[in-house]
Subunit: 151 residues, 3 copies
């Protein structure tokens, strides 16, 4: 058996699990945000989703409000999902608990803010750029640290 | 070393691994489904993919059959990938094995049905909505349970 | 506690972690590649991202250079993220270390090449098809092996 698992600090692991679970809830909420816009604007992507009253209507793919939420959701896929994996592996590098715990918190809080300023209450730049950048930098740091540790 | 790993029940873990591996096969199959539609309709997204006979032709991004499979695939990314992570972490909350095992089965079967009614044999709503909803609810339950456990 | 974790070979795990971390760095780099094209071509997806000089301009979603990088990025989400999960689970099947280590290397190198020939220096087919296919086949092999082991 590998002894690497002994590098995992209990408090760091608990912080990781809590924030990852919160981020999963946040990501799942994107589907509800998309659905809310679809029903509000009556904009659907599939013929079978169109309401009966709109028979003869065609799917629509360029509604700005629907597409905005979908871009925010895709940005989650690009940034949060890699964090889930690399955050887990980073714990095996025996990091300083204080640093690891605050990196996890930073990613989670930044990504929640990113969703708010992108898809809930649109706030002018650099609000979105900054929230994206904090989570991006923290994830990149963990990835580079982990790659170098196991080089 | 963390003692959290002792919460993992062997049978629950085996069920998780089996269904996750099945879902990975299912997700990989989406690429073949997309490719089948692309070659059937001769619709490609990149100039370098166009068949020689179609030199002078341009890429096309609005074929309904190709885009339907791509939407199903994207829906997998949004729903299945977060499940992979949160299903793993949920096992650390020491869940009742009967519940955990059936949650994993529910997500997997629902997502396989979702693909079938969305991208293989299109079936009128609420077939897709229901299959999506079962997996969504099960994943959300695991995420909330996990977040509360490690609060 | 589950005894499955004892199936994990230390050297295989280290190889997995290293290449996964490298692939996370590679995936994060896609955002920079997209940003480079967006600023070079002045093509943005959100009204709030448009440079002041372009007030009155509208977002644009069909720039071929921007969309090419975005397709490469989406292809990463479809192929690399499932590998992260199934690669981890595959290690629990007690695979021959030589095979497992080289499967991980093959996926990683193939996906790096895929990005290069898709989004950095566009090379005619079958360059992209081959690099995609190597990682796809290796991931599918691991998924099938894992599913059968835990059947």
């Amino acid at each position: 058996m590998t002894s690497l698992l002994q590098n995992i600090n209990d408090e760091v692991l608990r912080t990781y699990i809590f924030w990852v679970a919160v981020l999963v809830v946040k990501m799942l909420a994107m589907s509800l945000l998309t659905g809310r816009q679809r029903f509000r604007k009556k904009v659907f992507a599939n013929p079978e989703d169109l309401p009966p009253a709109k028979k003869g209507a065609t799917p629509k793919f360029d509604d700005p409000d629907v597409e905005r939420v979908r871009r925010a959701h895709r940005n989650d896929l690009e940034n949060i999902l890699p964090f889930f994996t690399v955050g887990l592996l980073y714990m095996l590098t025996n990091p300083e608990p204080f640093i690891a715990i605050n990196l996890f918190r930073a990613v989670a809080v930044a990504r929640i803010l990113h969703t708010i300023v992108y898809a809930v209450v649109v706030i002018p730049q650099p609000a979105r750029g900054l929230s994206w950048g904090v989570a991006y930098a923290a994830t990149a740091y963990m990835a580079v640290k982990t790659a170098l540790f196991f080089l």
